[in-house]
């Protein structure tokens, strides 16, 4: 008996998935637990393991196409089974749901202008709950304005040109209507699921958590000396980031409130110190998490970190590997950034922004100048959880440990 294979939620926040690769072809035998296809979710590319057995009779969603959770992506059954009835029932469902992505599009790639226009059209139904004139839609698209934020003044609240124009006029930061870009033509870049989730989470964090920032300079000469000494004894080197993770974990042990989450009526103090490290990817960023850093040695942290980072760069992290950091570190030192402020990555309540190490003249003993290697740390804290003095005490202790690594053992 042929049945549908439905798109399932492969990450907690996933709503739609893009089939990046079919591992099985039509006609292939599929065992339960075998990988059917790879699905790009909002965060990573995941393997879709089949829970059904049989012969893959029909692929409904081609590579590169999207399907939302619960919609059929393929049909599985016995070899040679007649699936025309099942297919037509799926077709009816799909038509009534008005979700064009589920249906295989033609093979031809949009290669010329004409095609682009056609594909523009296909994207329209996604927002068809917002009443807007075609001209208003085009203007909004060209200006990158979300129609959802515009109040329509046309018949029955339809959004018309003047609404877009007055929105633009009321938003001074947006490029003025008259500006004609002198260089190349403006491009519209579709927002990937990952980009959408980054945008949503960070905006939510920045707008809901009252951030404040603490900054100090840390001398790193002794830290680097200690690292050099350790690395001479090891086959592979331990990275600066692994050290920082360890130092932070040790400092958090002394200030456990740093390792907490605001829950509106309660504050959750996490038992495990799970530290995320922001890693840049081609199409976004991700924070692989090293779990329980308080109870791990620096070599173990380094080993885990290395694995996680290489997976992150290949887009292969699973949700368990990138979700739920209780503290985050973002290090832009390798870009030569001297100092910066970071946006807290929920559910954590603080993030440490690390700048580059640089030799600098420092006035010592009030009358002599010494060259020291310094690094600027900026701690962003959620004031709902961490008060200024608490954040300051944490940062001061972190500084002490970095400047005098032996203190990590106290």
């Amino acid at each position: 008996m042929a049945e549908q294979i439905l798109m399932i939620a492969l990450s907690p926040t996933m709503e739609t998935g893009t089939i990046s690769k079919w591992e099985k072809k039509e006609g292939d035998r599929v065992e339960s637990g075998e990988v059917l296809c790879q699905v790009e979710t909002d965060k990573a590319v995941m393997d879709y393991e089949s829970i059904q057995e049989g012969v893959l009779l029909k692929i409904l969603v081609n590579e590169g196409e999207q399907a939302s959770i619960g919609t059929p992506i393929a049909i599985i059954g016995e070899e040679g089974e007649d699936i025309t009835e099942l297919l037509s029932s799926i077709k009816r469902d799909v038509v009534s749901e008005k979700s064009p992505e589920v249906y295989p599009k033609e093979d031809v790639q949009p290669s010329d202008i004409r095609k682009e226009v056609v594909s523009d059209r296909i994207s329209v139904p996604k927002i068809d709950r917002i009443m807007a004139s075609p001209l208003a839609r085009r203007l909004a698209e060209q200006r990158g304005i979300d129609l959802a934020v515009i109040k329509g003044s046309g018949p029955r609240g339809r959004i018309i040109k003047r609404d877009i124009v007055s929105y633009i006029e009321a938003t001074p930061s947006t490029a003025s209507f008259e500006v004609i870009s002198p260089g190349e033509k403006d491009q519209i870049i579709p927002v990937s699921p990952k980009r959408a989730i980054i945008a949503q989470r960070l905006a939510e964090s920045k707008f809901s958590a009252p951030h404040y920032y603490l900054r100090l300079k840390v001398r790193t000469d002794d830290f680097m000396k200690a690292r050099k000494a350790l690395n001479q004894t090891l086959e592979s080197r331990v990275s600066v980031n692994a050290f920082l993770i360890k130092f932070v974990a040790e400092t958090i042990k002394r200030h456990p409130i740093i390792n907490s989450t605001w829950q509106k009526d309660t504050i959750l103090r996490h038992g495990s110190i799970d530290i995320g490290l922001a890693v840049a990817q081609d199409d976004g960023l991700i924070t692989p998490v090293v779990r329980d850093c308080g109870n791990k040695g620096i070599i173990e942290i380094e080993k885990e970190l290395k694995e996680l980072i290489s997976k992150a760069l290949e887009n292969k992290l699973t949700p368990e590997e990138y979700s739920g950091a209780t503290f985050t570190i973002s290090n832009l030192g390798s870009f030569g950034i001297e100092e910066f402020t970071a946006i807290i990555n929920p559910p954590a309540s603080a993030i440490l922004a690390v700048g580059k190490m640089e030799p600098q003249p420092v006035v010592t003993n009030g009358n002599s100048i010494e060259i020291q290697t310094l690094m600027t740390l900026t701690l962003s804290c959620d004031h709902r959880v961490i008060d200024g003095a608490v954040g300051a005490a944490f940062l001061k202790d972190l500084k002490d440990i970095i400047e005098n690594p032996i203190k990590a053992l106290y």
Binding site: R114, V117, S133, P134, L135, A136, R138, L139, I160, K161
Partner: protein, 465 residues
């Protein structure tokens, strides 16, 4: 304490501005009366749009009789009697005038016969001694043909559009001064019935407000039919001769004098607002070049007094007056109507053959204002139906914004242009872009396919051209 008035609203004039305002006001619950010194319906209905269309229709029948001859039918035109054509046009006008009376009655609007004269912001004198009070007054007194020096209209040898509509006998030849919509329509009618027509226009093209590429096609067509045009030429003077004919002196742009002898002269150089002798000065309203200055909701500077139609400085068109009437009525009733009509969405229509219809920017206007535009055109002959019905002369032209595709203007010359324009106008009004028309399925065979193809041409993929 609130003063008691006879009416919530008094409308002076029952033309397409006045009667529409009155009906809309009455629909919205206002106690309304209309004052009319002549027949209800105003110029449009009695000596304007309606009777002229009756003449144009008959002119087309007459002109198309040659198609019967193509079929081998021998027509004996010796019994042709223009007075019958005239009478039919009057019948149409009278039927519709009675229709207006009926509509007013149906909407409980009192029709007060007589000439209205404003005595105060709330009181109008009608005739010698009847006085009516109202909380609001709408002045909708319309316009009359404008005269030019040296050509005093006597409605006998020198006639206005009114006189032209009232002709019971055709002249042998006529000079029409002014190649605006009225002049061109009469040129078409009279030429169709065999009158020798000379059209004189001061500007360098006929229908000077229309797109030149479009009027060029019309002018060529009318020339082919034997109408003679003098553009960039003005009429200087006229002399009545002994043989009951007139000699008209024309002067071209280089100062050359031309003498043209005709039986009649039709003065069609525009219209003048009727703003004198209606008491505006009694309430402190001053006119500007004859027009009453108004605000966004057609309010004059006197509270409770409004002005619409040909007496305000907006296009002198019946449909503009009607829309203005609706706006004022809704405004008085406390609704929140859209203010002031955007002139770029007002259609204009010229009923000659081929017809011209348009709205929005012409190429000339876009250039003059430095507006970036692209144009898309499609010839009628590319639409199969136009060839089948022998109306393949014409073109659809769309001007649009190159970056947003917003429709800036549209121009059609050709058969049924005045009906076809509304698909494009609806697109403009609803903010559709050419792509929307290009991708919509149109019935085949229709002239509307030319509109679709022009829109496709804007998108770069017209099929039949």
């Amino acid at each position: 304490m609130e003063v008691k008035y006879d009416y919530d609203l008094l409308v002076i004039g029952s033309g397409p501005g006045g009667y529409v305002a009155a009906i809309r006001a009455s629909q919205l619950g206002l106690k309304t009366a209309v004052i009319e010194k002549d027949k209800p319906g105003g110029v449009c209905l009695n000596v304007g749009c309606i009777p002229s269309k009756a003449l144009i229709n008959q002119a087309e029948v007459f002109r198309n009789s040659r198609m019967l001859e193509d079929m081998g039918i021998k027509l004996d035109k010796s019994g042709f009697d223009y007075s019958k054509v005239f009478k039919k046009s009057r019948k149409a006008a009278n039927t519709l005038a009675r229709g207006i009376e009926y509509l007013l009655k149906k909407n409980n609007i009192e029709l007060i016969k007589g000439k209205g004269f404003i005595e105060s912001p709330n009181q109008v004198l009608v005739g010698d001694d009847k006085r009516f009070t109202a909380k609001n007054i709408i002045v909708a007194t319309g316009s009359r043909p404008r005269e030019i020096p040296g050509f005093t209209i006597d409605e006998d040898t020198v006639i206005s559009s009114t006189g032209a509509l009232m002709l019971e006998k055709l002249p042998k030849d006529i000079i029409i001064l002014g190649a605006g919509a009225i002049g061109i329509e009469f040129a078409h009618i009279l030429n169709a019935f065999g009158v020798e027509v000379y059209v004189v226009e001061m500007m360098d093209s006929i229908l000077p407000l229309e797109d030149k590429e479009i009027t060029g096609i019309l002018q060529k067509s009318l020339k082919k039919r034997g109408i003679k045009f003098y553009t960039s030429t003005k009429a200087v003077s006229m002399d009545k001769m002994d043989n009951n004919r007139i000699s008209v002196t024309l002067e071209d742009s280089k100062g050359n004098k031309i003498e043209q002898e005709v039986e009649k002269v039709l003065v069609a150089v525009g219209r003048t607002p009727n703003t004198e002798g209606i008491g505006l000065e009694n309430i402190g309203i001053e006119t500007d070049r004859g027009f009453v200055p108004v605000g966004d909701y057609y309010q004059t500077k006197v509270k409770g007094v409004f002005a619409i139609g040909d007496i305000v400085n907006s296009p002198l068109l019946a449909h503009v007056a009607s829309k203005e009437g609706e706006i004022v009525a809704e405004f008085i009733a406390g609704l929140n109507p859209e203010p002031r009509i955007d002139i770029n969405v007002i259609p204009s229509a010229v009923y000659c053959e081929p017809q011209i219809a348009s709205f929005g920017y012409t190429e000339e206007k876009a250039k003059a204002e430095g507006i970036d535009y692209k144009k898309a055109v499609f010839p009628y002959r590319g639409a199969g139906k136009s060839v089948a019905i022998e109306k393949s002369e014409g073109m659809v032209k769309i001007l649009y914004d190159p970056s947003t595709s917003e429709i800036l203007g549209a121009h059609i010359v050709g058969a049924e242009a005045t009906e076809l324009i509304h698909e494009l106008l609806l697109a403009k009004w609803g903010e559709l872009i050419p792509e929307d028309i290009a991708t919509m399925v149109h019935a085949h065979p229709t002239l509307s396919e030319a509109v679709m193809e022009a829109a496709r041409s804007a998108e770069g993929w017209a099929i039949h051209f």
